[in-house]
Amino acid sequence: MAISDVYDFYKKMEDENIILSFKGTFSEDLLTSILHIVEAKMGGMQIEPKKRKRVFNVLVECFQNLYHHIEEIEASDDELEQQKSALIIVKFKAGVFRITTGNFVRNDQIEELRAKLEIVNELNEDGLRELYRTKLQNECRTMKGTAGLGLIDIARKSKNKLDYEIINVTESISFFCLSVVID
């Protein structure tokens, strides 16, 4: 980016109503910082507590989802190391929050991911609740405690369909974009 583009870059973020964006390697400390920033911003916005909690919830789930998926990518060379990097953008306009994430996923994970997203998007509120309860009771979890409930919970809190796109990057890796609205 040429130095003359900095203003355009700023303007673009301004026009898109971006209140926070981060691109880089994700860590738990980063989540703490992001929650802190978003909390401070919402504090001055007069957002009703229920919505504030939903934004938090979705942010945490999106973030921890990313974090776990990224952990699964094997870093055998520099290229893969770079692919551990991810993107998170929070937009806010007229009372509506949009949380967008982007991260690399292995191509062999895509089918399962797509299936999960399709199921979640087909269900209404009651259906999501039912699925959540069933999974909470039955599904085993990984060593880290992830329970396969992340996307279901995101959909429940969002009250909107999940918008997503999977872009093929190489033979083995794709870029997964997820966009969640809280209105």
Partner: protein, 124 residues
């Protein structure tokens, strides 16, 4: 057992003398198994000689899905205490208008064999 709350973990106040067990605040740790392990260990110990009446006060602001499994495990352990002739009652608190936490309480009530009281309060 007393654990101070943090930005990502609830404060814990488990009193084996009174039989009152309280969790309060947020529960969004990245590795929730690690956080909940000492709680479950404490509960195992407590279950060997529990009070005749145990009261669990769940005052959670919100929790992540990774915690939700651990909370279920916690309730499952309490079920056993409840089945052994001792009573366990769960008070699940939620803030006015916070239907998400109200629903979360109902979700647990539906899948856990313990008496739940779902209680609305102005502020947790």
């Amino acid at each position: 057992m007393i654990i101070e709350g943090s930005a990502k973990t609830p404060s814990i106040h488990f009193d084996s003398e009174t039989g009152i067990l309280m969790l309060k605040g947020r529960s969004i740790p990245e590795n929730s198994i690690e956080f909940y392990k000492p709680l479950n260990d404490w509960l195992d110990q407590y279950a060997s000689s529990p009070k005749p009446a145990t009261v669990v006060d769940m005052k959670l602001e919100y929790f992540n899905t990774s915690s939700s499994k651990c909370i279920l495990d916690f309730f499952k352990k309490l079920e056993k205490v409840n089945n052994n002739g001792n009573s366990v009652n769960v008070n699940w608190y939620f803030e006015t208008d916070d239907e998400d936490m109200e629903e979360a309480g109902e979700d647990y009530e539906a899948i856990v064999g313990l008496p739940f009281k779902i209680i609305e309060v102005d502020e947790i």
